[in-house]
Symmetry: C2
Subunit: 345 residues, 2 copies
């Protein structure tokens, strides 16, 4: 047979490689898939030619044979708050490398709460994905469908009812507890809370952590100090304004995200309060900026890299048929900066 001369725009095929190496396509296929059945010299020769040409087998063809898509979908709730999406994309960024090096495509996609949004459903139904990373809050029926169709999947911060699904959990309850505890230890007794009801699970976790701390110290938070309407900078500002309308003000506020703290601090300052002298703030995230705000924000960091790593590991284990399990990522230490006034050393 003749060796095909370079039509520059046509990709090589396994057949071309076989011709170049003077072997059959089967041998090349075996080498590609790391199977035995090829002699060492042949194997080496084939490997050399493959890497020389940067040859990669056609994924459509390979996928067709293997019933694989080589896609891993990262599904994000469309209605998630901008701040959350930002966080998710940070995690996605870390996932990209972990997934790429396994020769998968990572495909980020939005899924709406609206049942009319069938996009991901049809991806699942038609087996156009090999694994799914669900970010928090995806509709249960979608997750169930993935289970029914035997598509490996993991949930990042699942709801409580989703305990039988492999998942990785950031311990937001614990983080919020620690943060509230920190305020208490610094002598604050009147503490407010700005959270995000529109992410119900996240809201419950953070509020639970907060409430637990309040109970432990026997503090009674005024109901009006506990706000849930925040979902971006603007609404967090509104929350803070509402708190400031109370007759008795809290001396410190727990924000469930740095973003909220930024505009809450702003609202307090605008109303003439000094931060942290009159009102202290503490939050969760540790954005790169947090250190440079005025005042520098005391906050508990969340490690996106770790989250991405755990989620991918879980997914790969699932895909390889290993036992599914859950991971809870423990809360980190608070990074103490200057947004909390120390009332008692």
């Amino acid at each position: 047979m003749e060796i095909k001369k370079g039509d520059k725009t046509k990709a090589l095929t396994i057949k071309d490689i076989a011709n170049l190496a003077g072997v059959s396509v089967a041998s090349v296929s075996y080498v590609i898939n790391g199977k035995k059945g090829v002699g060492p010299e042949q194997r080496e020769k084939i490997e050399r030619i493959i890497s020389w040409h940067h040859f990669r087998p056609n994924q459509n063809s390979r996928g067709l044979s293997l019933s694989k898509s080589f896609n891993i979908h990262a599904v994000i709730r469309r209605e998630a708050a901008p701040a959350c999406k930002n966080f998710y994309f940070g995690v996605l960024s870390k996932m990209m490398d972990l997934i790429e090096c396994r020769q998968y495509n990572i495909v980020p996609a939005y899924q709406s709460d609206d049942p009319a949004d069938k996009n991901i459903m049809s991806v699942i139904q038609n087996k156009n994905t090999d694994g799914i990373l669900f970010f928090q809050g995806i509709r249960k029926d979608i997750v169930k469908m993935a289970a029914n169709k035997k598509i490996p999947h993991v949930i990042i911060n699942p709801g409580l009812e989703e305990n039988n699904v492999p998942s990785v959990l950031l311990d937001f309850e614990r983080m919020t507890f620690q943060v509230a505890q920190f305020l208490a230890e610094k002598g604050h007794t009147r503490i407010g809370f700005i959270g995000m009801q529109s992410m119900p699970l996240f809201f419950r976790q953070t509020l639970d952590g907060f409430t637990k701390a309040m109970r432990q110290y026997r503090f009674r938070a005024d109901k009006a100090w506990i706000r849930g309407e925040a979902f971006n900078e603007e609404s967090a500002e509104t929350s803070m304004r509402r708190i400031l309308r109370c007759k008795v003000l809290p001396t410190a506020i727990v924000c469930t995200q740095d973003n909220f703290a930024v505009s809450a601090v702003n609202a307090a300052k605008t109303a003439g309060y000094r931060v942290p002298r009159d009102i202290s703030f503490i939050s969760i995230d540790d954005l790169p900026m947090a250190k440079y705000l005025d005042p520098p924000l005391t906050t508990i960091p969340v490690d996106q890299t770790e989250l991405a790593f755990c989620a991918c590991e879980l997914l790969f284990d699932f895909m390889e048929g290993k036992a599914v399990r859950n991971i809870t990522i423990p809360a980190k230490e608070i990074i103490v900066r200057d947004s909390v006034r120390i009332l008692k050393p």
Copy 2:
């Protein structure tokens, strides 16, 4: 023929649909691909069955026949500054919808400056992509390879030598010019600049805009006021500190990104200067937070949605064989807040 009963985990095939509709696979295929050659009643029946089952043809198989991958890659420079990556992911987020609704997967991927990173090259070489969105600063050889292999591609903020590649340009030169002009109009004559050399094109564009404004007003900026070492919050702080070491200080600073402004403002305050009383700041981006910083940041907004839309439109036009062209997105109006002191009304 019998209608196949539901093996729940196996996806439907075009054959199943054909059986259900009592027609041949060809007819189904014609309907899927919007071709003529099928009678109206048949067509309607087939369409009904397809939508009823949420049927989507197997992409591997389809791709194999059509020589398509259904992937559109979004290539991001791995070495890009964190602030830039954030911006890119914001744009990616907008692209997701535009691309998904065309039944493509969007596949974000990093490409390193290091020639050893062959990942995207091999994707291109092996035609495992139908189109590429290159974000600023991707190695020229990669872009050229896409051209050689006839893979449609667009560059977001290309280098000057890449003028023959379809591209969408944010007019950073103009934005920086406007921002510097604004300072001049408010009576500032000693103006500094904090930019990012590590993104060479972006740096040149912004610095050119700045320089042009300086020339127009015949201002002479001290060389030490012009910094290029910023690439994140930390290094921007360093830049500002260095500026503050000058004997004569500028009264205003142009930052090429809001992030830089945040930590530059912080550096100034920490050194005992009041903002904007002693030193003013202006920047580019308009992050959601910008409004809530202390002081609220005067900045010129960049529209991610528009950028995503233009880039995708260009790419789709290219993919459909339409004439390639470039788009320059004009600079928006400055959003005036409180970080610039008005020295002259």
